[in-house]
Symmetry: C2
Subunit: 506 residues, 2 copies
């Protein structure tokens, strides 16, 4: 075949780029888990060097020439029509990443990285001191850098669309708005309704749960979900995450708090959901740029399905609670599974996104989406963010933070210029329930299987229908291919309204 | 200063090379400690790529040009005389490493690496199956590659000298022979004498010592020795090792066997000795090629001093035994410290080097040195190695292996072409006691300090006198600078004869 040589060479370059990215991931994983306190400075230098080398290789002129030889251009990224579908998907994604990287001037990237470092440090201090105005100049810089990045990349209507495209390829702010508007209205109204109901008993959670025992339970839980320990690990870090160090080396972390048993459990389940995705890419795309999630939102759909739809269901705890009680007999043997189930599904408006329940979580996200949009359209002055934040909190959740530390300063994302990232979290909820609706049609006894602790059929379905695509399809195409439908908030809202009206009565 | 620009640039290149080497060390450390079983293949590919990048950078033509600009040539490695002493040492070492790497053709290095991989795998199988002849063709290849390497590097008398120079710069086989000959004679004779004495009671060691408790004791021991946990870690691996991931990130590993309490303890002390060296390089050479040990032998002098001279002394256990008994009250509370001391100093000829006591250890090493010398001078045919091994074992230690697995096949070194490495182990013993003789003059109450568990003055002395030099001096120059003497076996022999005649009576 005429393209064979060029294809093989491009695959070899791709493989080297992935190896370098994985090496970076090893150094980062180690930094979050085992690095001695004083090793941080040196590690940052090692990482900067390796990331620089990885970047250089991924935008080599050789790769650019090979893409052209294979017919892949900015306008026709998939390349020559005679190529097999898999290769055309490979070229599409390689070209997209290549263009995005190449369009940013080297000086711009290094100035941005430097400013990000300073900005994140300033954010840490500002949150600690509850001092938004000390952070404001950095925030303004981050917005400027992000706007400039969007200009380099190009966009149709608003620079914000250019930023969203990194996390959710093909999605614009108005696409997202179309589903977020009904989502916000119905979740806000449900939240108000629940506020009038009796609060479930959560007192039994306010005990000291030994952290090592929690870690041992998490490990068992992860294995029961089907995590293959010969291809991954569970460790501890300050913030739970999933990282891929190789096709057969996917690592998750969790963290255990003595008086918050549920925190570690659901972190472990959530990250396991991410890990199943990363472990589930097929042999045909192993070690290639296609062996990745379709988008941030699709990735979140996997983690949130496991954490919430499966992990916070009554059926799940019918299977798992006896084992949890074995780990904590003194603390839990007097608690019934129904009580436990209601406690882990407590709904209560709260100030902090990452502690939010299933009903209010998406509202926290939509709030950020609205503010990001207004920042980039120029409607909102960054200096006005704290008051805009409080106003929206009142409107969406009915509560207001007393301090900016508990408000606009709570998340790291903006301090490192990750504008456009937040929507993925709520999109993950929507995608997840659209997938789930299809899954329960295909795997008819899903709920029964869960209550037996038999997750293999569910894992298989997710693997066959979603994971096996890797990054070949854009999120909306994947959604359509799997479910036959376009993006919609209905399945998620139907699930939420039904679940919580049962728990809280209606 | 006229050379300033060139010096700064060479230091920047050096720093990048060290960063890459450290990144490789992170990936290797992870491979030995935490890598999931199925991640090995991918990790090997990541490592090959990173090592290749590190190699390319370290022999860049820019570095070569800068060395010349600074007056550093093969004949005059230290460069221009107007440069400060520290910079001249830097140039000397950079030039030496640069030349050694550059002299090996790229094709040769990759052919050698491939052959090494096959040879090591063949060795694993041959040792398992006790089948020397299956390994022989690989061994012959490894000898050929090593001889060729020595030719590329250059040597005066014998290619073996060219190989030794990698591990002990400036040492020839005849230099080593001059100290190994009296060492062998007197150790052999001491060993025979001890064989006639009463064997100490070691029965109490034949109990199950819980491995997690051993690990906790090792951690405490390491901290008591003075290991700064904010600059390093202790983990578990199949074979104990020390590795430097950064100037403030030095990691050691140990391994615990249920019925061999002493094995994990002395591995931890040994590796701590290596770690103190690596943690002890001064700010002036931080992150540079000079921040390394003077040689393999000097490195071993540090680990063996801590393991044997300090760690196997009665004073040491007077300080530490009460704590060990607290960890193992059921197993040890009936054992006195004197009994313990005699048991951990059991002398008995044995077949396996890494299990040998202080008296016979060096004999195992000298045996290998003699055989290596004969192999490279052509006196010994590799096919005759098993019988030569048995003959020498009989002569040096008075025992013979029944199988080659317990004889010539026991060590990995030859299978990966590391000829010339073994002597460093015994040289470490000699250097160590020469240093120690000086140390006890300067720190007059060393033994008393040890019995109080106060190691800070000893660590300080080693740091000020040895570690602070890094790699600036060659081993013989360092020895002369620190002790005023040339290499000699007398201090070590005096120590050994005195210690063991006390334990065994004489």
């Amino acid at each position: 075949m005429e393209f064979q040589g060029a294809l093989e060479r491009l695959h070899a370059i791709d493989k080297e780029c992935r190896h370098l990215e994985r090496a970076v991931a090893v150094l980062q994983w180690d930094m979050e888990t085992f690095l001695p306190e004083k090793g941080v400075e040196e590690r940052a230098e090692q990482l900067a060097l390796l990331e620089g080398i990885a970047h250089e290789r991924s935008i080599s002129t050789e790769a650019g020439r090979l893409l052209l030889e294979l017919g892949s251009t900015h306008e026709n990224p998939q390349g020559d029509e005679k190529l097999p579908a898999l290769e055309r998907d490979f070229l599409k994604v390689f070209r997209r990443v290549y263009d995005k990287k190449l369009k940013l001037p080297v000086d711009f990237v290094s100035a941005q990285a430097k400013a990000e470092g300073l900005s994140q440090a300033a954010w840490v201090a500002a949150r600690r001191d509850n001092n938004f105005s000390a952070f404001l100049p950095h925030l303004v810089k981050m917005i400027d850098f992000s706007r400039q990045r969007a200009i380099y990349w190009g966009f149709v209507d608003n620079p914000y669309d250019g930023l969203l495209d990194i996390y959710e390829p093909g999605m614009s702010a108005s696409d997202i708005d179309a589903v977020f508007t009904p989502l916000r209205e119905r979740l806000s109204s449900l939240l108000k309704k629940i506020a009038g109901q009796k609060r479930p008993d959560c007192s039994f959670l306010d005990q000291d749960f030994d952290m090592e025992t929690q870690a041992r339970f998490s490990l068992e839980l992860m294995k029961k979900l089907g995590f293959d320990s010969s291809r991954g690990r569970l460790d501890v870090s300050a913030h739970p995450f999933t990282t891929t160090l190789g096709p057969d080396d996917v690592r998750i972390t969790s963290r255990y708090l003595p008086r918050q048993l549920q925190s570690g459990i659901f972190a472990t389940i959530h990250e396991s959901g991410h890990a199943f995705y990363e472990m589930g890419f097929p042999q045909s795309i192993r070690g290639s740029i296609l062996a990745d999630g379709a988008s941030m939102g699709i990735h979140e759909s996997q983690s949130r399905l496991w954490e919430n739809v499966i992990g916070r269901s009554l059926s799940f705890w019918k299977a798992m609670f006896p084992s949890l009680v074995e780990y904590f007999p003194d603390e839990l043997s007097k608690t019934g599974v129904e009580i436990f189930y209601r406690a882990i599904n407590l709904v209560e408006p709260s100030l902090i996104r990452i502690e939010a329940d299933e009903v209010s979580y998406s509202l926290h996200v939509i709030l950020r989406f609205c503010l990001e949009r207004e920042l980039f359209s120029g409607v909102l002055d960054p200096a006005e963010l704290p008051s805009a934040w409080r106003k929206k909190m009142k409107e969406f959740l009915g509560i207001e933070p007393e301090t900016d530390a508990q408000g606009v300063l709570q998340d790291v994302h903006w301090s490192i210029g990750s504008f456009g990232y937040f929507p993925s979290y709520a999109l993950g909820n929507l995608y997840g329930l659209q997938f789930w609706e299809k899954l329960v049609k295909d795997v008819s006894d899903a709920d029964e299987l869960i209550s037996q602790g038999n997750f293999a059929p569910i894992r298989s379905w997710l693997n066959d229908n979603i994971h096996s695509w890797g990054r070949r399809l854009d999120p909306q195409d994947l959604l359509k291919t799997v479910t036959g439908s376009n993006l919609s908030a209905e399945p998620f809202l139907g699930y939420i309204e039904s679940k919580f009206s049962t728990i809280y009565g209606s």
